[in-house]
């Protein structure tokens, strides 16, 4: 394509670069502005106008490999690393005509719920600078919320798309495990990881998801299925049965979140959906199981960062052990080190049965909980995405467990592989609240229909 052949794409590229430039205060983008502009213009000249995302700028979380920009996982251990290969999701975006609009900041290796655990500094909440945008896809969420891009790729291991989407007032979708190829997503907890999409609307998020979904011969855990087909926006939700799990609406829940949920539930009823109280009795065990399984897998997945083949070698490295100790000791931040240690511990001989195996049993029970509910005619689960609105920066840094509890309503979908999404359902004192749908495996279309309808029915950006 020549410059004259793609004027719309060029205009889109320039506009995206300009908008991105205005988000500097958020520290949401890890790509230097100059590099971004140069790359966007170059991409615009190459991009094919027939693609369904022609000219759409999409930011990419920096734990997803790109050829256009370095991939750092917001870690010193990958500082400046240029991947020689590209994530399948990114390749599919480009093939559909999208422009890769830089790399978004994240919690180091996607480990965190506030994007404070980034080696390159925390991300600022676009609506209130003292607060966190959520995490780990906080950079992606902030860029979408700030209007810099209509959509961004994030990744989830325990809610890392939905939770920041909820905090920032945007839409976040985590598809069924296996819907999107994980090839090129730097692995954290491989059995939980899934690339997801953040979008300013259900439609923006859904159409990007549709493009990146579908079979991929490079990922054995990716299902051999056609790309997701987008549903039409429904007139109403008649015939839908929506379950409200009591474990996700505890008596002591945040009053503002409660009000927003109540309004959303009323709207769902008014749209014609039948709403039922249900129970997912093993919910309380989800966070403990999650914080065994995810670190266990992480401890193994992050073994490859040893300073031998790629990335910086840190320290003196006088012998092999020193090379490992110093590179990994200095290269990984404290939260990553903590999870590697926990993961190593729970997989150790003598502890495996008590922790890892037990956590896998919990996982099976959680999946059974959901099957029981769906088998009784419930189509979708509705819950708050997070127990609270965005918390203040620094508030939970000293208390890992408090930080981990930010994932309490989201990690069940990762443990069970079910599709789930967060949609804005109002604000409390100016801070967004997200409502979560959890769907049945491979039935993202039903979940999207409900989200489309709810999005139209309530003013998601207004205080309740």
């Amino acid at each position: 394509m020549t410059e004259t052949a793609a004027p719309e794409a060029l205009a889109a590229a320039r506009a995206a670069a300009d908008r991105m430039g205005k988000t500097k205060r958020l520290n949401a983008l890890l790509t230097p502005a100059k590099d971004l502009r140069k790359s966007l213009l170059a991409q615009a000249k190459e991009v094919h106008p027939s693609g369904v995302l022609y000219g759409m700028p999409v930011a990419v979380k920096d734990n997803i490999c790109t050829l256009e920009f370095p991939t750092t996982c917001a870690s010193k251990i990958l500082d400046g690393w240029q991947s020689p290969h590209e994530a399948t999701a990114v390749a599919k975006l480009k093939a559909a005509g999208a422009l890769i609009a830089g790399k978004a900041n994240l919690d180091e290796f996607a480990m965190g719920s506030s994007t404070e655990h980034s080696a390159f500094g925390r991300v600022i909440h676009p609506l209130e600078k003292s607060r966190v945008p959520g995490g780990s896809s906080g950079g992606s969420a902030a860029l979408v919320a700030a209007g810099a891009v209509p959509a961004a790729l994030g990744s989830e291991t325990g809610g890392s798309v939905r939770q920041p989407a909820s905090f920032c007032g945007v839409v976040g979708i985590k598809p069924t495990y296996g819907r999107v190829s994980r090839y090129g997503l730097v692995a954290f907890g491989s059995s939980l990881d899934q690339i997801g999409v953040l979008g300013r609307s259900v439609h923006d998020a859904a159409r990007v998801l549709s493009v990146i979904s579908g079979r991929d011969g490079k990922d054995n855990t990716c299902e051999d299925r056609d790309p997701l087909r987008l549903p039409n926006v429904p007139e109403n939700l008649q015939g839908f049965v929506i379950g409200l799990p009591k474990e996700y609406f505890p008596p002591d829940m945040d009053a503002g979140v409660r009000r927003a949920c109540d309004r959303a539930i009323r709207a769902l009823k008014e749209l014609g959906a039948a709403v039922r109280d249900v129970s997912l009795p093993h919910t309380a065990y989800a966070i403990p199981a999650y914080y065994v399984i995810a670190p266990a897998e992480a401890s193994s997945n992050l073994a490859r960062f040893d300073g031998v083949r790629f990335g910086p070698r840190l320290g003196e490295g006088t012998d092999l052990r020193a090379l490992y100790r110093e590179t990994r000791g200095e290269g990984f931040g404290p939260e990553v080190r903590r999870r590697i240690l926990v993961g190593t511990y729970v997989l150790s001989s003598g502890y495996y049965d008590a922790y890892y195996r037990k956590a896998q049993q919990v996982r099976a029970l959680l999946a059974q909980d959901f099957r029981n509910v769906f088998d009784r005619g419930v189509d979708l689960i509705f819950t708050p995405t997070t127990p609270t609105t965005a918390f203040k920066a620094g508030e939970r840094m000293a208390d890992p467990v408090a930080m981990y509890l930010a994932d309490i309503f989201t990690c069940t979908a990762n443990l069970t592989g079910l599709p789930a999404m967060s949609v804005p359902i109002g604000r409390v004192k100016g801070l967004p609240v997200g409502g979560q749908f959890i769907g049945q495996s491979w039935l993202e279309d039903e979940m999207l229909e409900a989200a489309y309808a709810l999005e139209r029915a309530i003013p998601g950006a207004e205080d309740v």
């Binding site: 020689p84 290969h85 692995a187 073994a303 490859r304 790629f310 997989l347 001989s349």
Partner: protein, 477 residues
């Protein structure tokens, strides 16, 4: 010294599967390429890369398992074996742990001490190889070559079944033969495509309890197997007889010194933290597919040996030689199927053909149909055995039709009594004195006359026909 002691040995064999590409990526597996030229993001363990199993490798592994009469499990699980080493790119090896591909097999072999013995195959699993660390390439540095990283292997583990180093070796020879037969590996120890570790323990003869075992590693050649195991056995016996106690540890064989030495404890204090690899769904093989593989397995050496004895009426020693490799066995059968008499064909293959192969990189050069014709020419009296060997050399070197070769060499036997009669007349005419003596009853001179006829005919006269013609002439005269 060993009389009062019993040695107990179990063997773990790593076998490189014969695939063009690696276990979890498309990189080539060819041996001897320049360092780090057969690598990609997957086998380099780059961030974001994911493994995809090689279906051919799975098939070869299943065939090996079936040949070793294992139970092949419909579902097996890939597991990660975690440890840090520079030649292990991901920081873990993809292997199988508590749910291996196959278990409970057996391999009958001939023990030099005990005759026919069944080795039990405890398990057979699939895994990927690590790269190579080269400590002597650059001074004070270790170089890493990752060409081998990700090459498909199977590990075959036996029970503590062997009672001597020689017996362990005999098992390994049989195993190698079977694996070569089914074509799953080239089993070349020098190239590392077959690697052997062994667990050795000793106990007083008759003691029902096993002694403490040590693992012997670094046995890099077939000829070292017995040496390494003997060294370790002797070390343990000497230790106990000297009042010491065997401690469980890993011993490394030093071929130069012909000794074993303990690996440093630091090198072996691993907790591998095995867990199911979340990148790879369980490996499912259908019973139908397993049955298909079973049905398409070639005839294995033991069965083929027995069949050669019964079908071709060969002595067991001949059958053993002819079935030592599948190529030779197939060659032999081609010669027989082309019409040769089985025992004659066996003699030819074991003699001339294998002799020729030895000098020509194990190639079986003479076309089987040609050899079969050659054998027929000898049997029919057209060629003497001596001449036939000359024809064979030409046949092996350049191919062609044996009769034409024999003609061009001028070695066709003459079995025409008229033609032969001329040589006989010539000889009798030249040896009147001997003729007289013969007629006087000195019949043993027949051999002399035959020899002279052969000489006069330059070896072409049929040595069976010649005495008859001579006798006729002398009787008629």
């Amino acid at each position: 010294m060993t009389g009062a002691w019993e040695t107990v040995i179990g063997v773990e064999t790593h076998v490189q599967l014969r695939t063009a590409s690696k276990m979890f990526c498309g990189c080539a597996t060819a041996f001897g390429a320049p360092p780090n030229t057969q690598v990609c993001p997957v086998c380099l363990g780059l961030p974001g890369a994911l493994p995809v199993p090689n279906e051919l490798a799975i098939k070869l592994a299943v065939r090996a398992a079936l040949a070793l009469r294992c139970r092949v499990h419909a579902k097996s699980v890939f597991a990660r074996k975690n440890y840090f080493y520079p030649d292990l790119p991901k920081g873990y090896q993809i292997s199988q742990f508590d749910q291996p591909l196959a278990t409970e097999g057996m391999l009958p072999f001939l023990s030099p001490d005990r005759g026919a013995v069944d080795a039990t195959i405890t398990r057979l699993h699939v895994e990927e190889d690590a790269g190579k660390s080269l400590h002597d390439r650059f001074p004070k540095h270790t170089a890493v070559d990752l060409n081998r990283a990700g090459v498909p292997l199977i590990e075959i583990v036996t029970g503590p079944d062997f009672r001597s180093p020689a017996e362990a070796r005999a098992y390994l020879s049989t195993l190698k033969q079977v694996l070569e037969y089914i074509g799953i590996s080239d089993c070349d120890m020098e190239k590392g495509s077959l690697r052997v570790d062994a667990n050795v323990s000793v106990r007083r003869a008759g003691d029902p309890v096993l002694g403490t075992k040590c693992e012997v590693k670094n046995i890099n050649s077939f000829s070292y197997v017995e040496k390494a195991l003997t060294a370790e056995r002797d070390r343990q016996i000497a230790l106990i007889e000297g009042g010491g106690r065997v401690e469980q540890q890993t011993m490394l064989f030093d071929a130069k010194e012909n000794t074993v030495r303990a690996q440093r404890a630091k090198e072996e204090s691993h907790d591998y933290r095995y867990f199911p690899d979340p990148d790879l769904p369980p490996l499912i093989v259908s019973p139908e597919w397993i049955a298909e593989q079973q049905a398409s397995l070639p005839e294995l050496p033991a069965t083929k040996r027995e069949r050669f004895v019964s079908q071709y009426a060969l002595p067991p020693q001949d059958a053993a030689v002819l079935t030592a490799s599948r190529a030779v066995a197939d060659y032999y059968e081609s010669v027989v199927h082309a019409g040769a008499e089985p025992k004659a064909a066996a003699n030819w293959v074991m003699g001339e053909v294998l002799g020729d192969a030895k000098d020509h990189q194990d190639q079986l050069r003479a076309p089987p149909a040609g050899l079969s014709q050659l054998i027929a020419l000898v049997k029919g009296g057209t060629l003497s055995h001596q001449s036939a060997k000359r024809v064979f050399s030409e046949l092996a070197a350049n191919g062609g039709d044996p009769r034409t070769i024999a003609e061009s060499l001028g070695v066709i036997q003459v079995a025409d009594a008229n033609v032969l009669g001329q040589w006989v007349d010539e000889v009798l005419g030249a040896h009147a004195a001997e003729v007289t003596r013969f007629r006087a009853g000195e019949t043993k001179l027949m051999a002399f006359f035959v020899g002279q006829v052969m000489k006069a005919s330059k070896g072409k006269a049929d040595p069976k026909l010649a005495p008859k013609v001579i006798a006729e002439r002398l009787g008629a005269a």
